[in-house]
Amino acid sequence: MKHDPKASHCQCGGKMSRRGFITALGVGAAGVAATGAMTARTATAKETPMIPSGEMARIDLTVNDRAHTLLVEPRWTLLHVLRESLGMTGTKAGCERGECGACTVLIDDIPRYACLTLAMEVQGRRIVTLEGLMEGEKLGPVQEAFLEEDAFQCGYCTPGQIVAAEGLLRADPNPSSETITRAMSGNLCRCGTYPHIHNAIQSAAGKRR
């Protein structure tokens, strides 16, 4: 892929500044030149898509049905990019090491932890966050069910719970009680609202039908 000077500008509101020399990354394409200072280098950079550290790389992400082109540092996680670059703070940072579930997002409809996902890895993929479950100004069915069933106290785990539940219902619109328990086992709630969450998911399954 050719170097594209336009690639150095974020098209998402220009919040990010250009840092260093930017090389564009082609999806699966070869031929990105390595530039700039790095302590770690590769001898075969010519053959492999490679993003130098300390520099911004361009990635395309579809977040909640909207296409974004972003400049990211290779060490940024998807969680970081959602919150800090896109300002979408619905996705919460809890443990940041895969142990709580607060950062759950859907990547191509599959629930994963945004804190264990490098933003570079999800180049070109479809991301859904809590914000994406709204229908305009209206709450989506899972959100509504959480409200009605009083499925939260402090609310910190709630976005992750709701997105995990949405992921479950997309894969299995009529989950058994056992299936709900298993599917939600990666989302902890310090306030202990588990029974209400369980009820909310059962009720959301009905609403979605």
């Binding site: 770690a40 590769t42 075969t44 053959e47 492999t48 060490r75 599959i110 890895e121 599917a183 086992s185």
Partner: protein
């Protein structure tokens, strides 16, 4: 800045995503400085966040998920073959695994959480060489072999010879684990596994046990017992095999085998459990699993 929420705690990294096996092997061969081959990153990122791994001078991250040939499950000449980058969630839904090796699906179903299983790989689990790696005991009793490649060739070793210690394997530098394969079990074989943790989900095992038997109600022809979290590596406990082989699988034989297995482990006291508790679990769980396998064979 250390308090900064987000990836600031991750070191400067260079991200590589080769798309073919040749590119991957060439890249790994020529790379300068620190590097890690990663698949799901579910061990990699927590190890950095927790301070277990530090890369002060930056790190090359070689993501193997772009190499299609490294994931997928197939049956080939009487063997089940899994690519190293096969995700745990793909093992769970694989018709081949569910039919031929449900013992592996059973183990995977209790690992971590759905979100981690949707990301983590079987190769990553083995390469991390945690003493508690949950895919290891079932794969050990299924007589699995692992294969790796470098730019210069390919090698295969029994999984039993793969682990050297916590976090250490026989993988040579600049190699990539490519495949895990095991013979498709026949109708006269049975395998079971279980584990103990502080909860059923989302915890590291206090102990995990897997057993495999071949034979019938009159005679055991072959046996394997493997455990995790009871030694520096997941282990196959061969000492108990001779207690079972050639015998009628009655209660006394199974009890003796379980006792022998438990006396051949070297667990430690840690924050999850004491060594004594692990020994006692090892015996009880092995005996129960053996009995269940005998039931499966009847």
């Amino acid at each position: 800045m250390n308090q900064f929420i987000g990836s600031r705690a991750l070191p400067d990294l260079v991200y590589h995503r080769p798309g073919t096996m040749d590119d991957l092997l060439g890249l790994v061969k020529g790379i300068e400085g620190e590097y890690r081959v990663v698949a799901g990153c579910t061990d990699f990122i927590p190890a950095i966040r927790g301070g277990k791994w530090r890369f002060a001078d930056g790190i090359n991250v070689v993501d193997i998920r772009g190499v299609k040939a490294l994931s997928g499950i197939r049956e080939e000449k009487g063997e089940i073959v899994m690519g190293a980058a096969t995700r745990l969630s793909d093992i769970l839904v694989s018709p081949v695994i569910r039919e031929k090796a449900p013992v592996l699906a059973d183990a995977v179903s209790q690992m971590a959480s759905p979100q981690v299983r949707n990301t983590a790989t079987v190769g990553g689990n083995l390469c991390m060489a945690s003493p508690a790696a949950d895919t290891a005991p079932p794969l050990l009793v299924l007589d699995a072999k692992v294969a790796w490649r470098t730019a210069d060739g390919e090698e295969t070793t029994p999984l039993n010879k793969f682990f050297l210690g916590p976090g250490a394997t026989v993988l040579p530098p600049r190699s990539v684990l490519t495949e895990i394969r095991f013979p498709a079990p026949g109708p006269d074989e049975a395998a079971r596994r279980t584990r103990m943790g502080q909860r059923t989900a989302f915890v590291c095992s206090i102990i995990s046990v897997a057993v495999w038997l071949r034979g019938g109600p009159e005679k055991i022809e072959a046996a394997r017992i493997a455990m995790g979290a009871v030694a520096p590596t997941p282990i196959l406990i061969t000492a108990a095999e001779s207690v079972l082989i050639g015998k009628k699988p009655n209660e006394a034989t199974l009890a003796e085998a379980a006792k022998t297995a438990a006396s051949n482990i070297a667990p430690i006291d840690d924050l999850r459990a004491t060594a004594d508790y692990r020994k006692s679990l090892a015996e009880t769980l092995t005996r129960r699993l053996l009995a269940a396998c005998v039931g499966d064979l009847a």
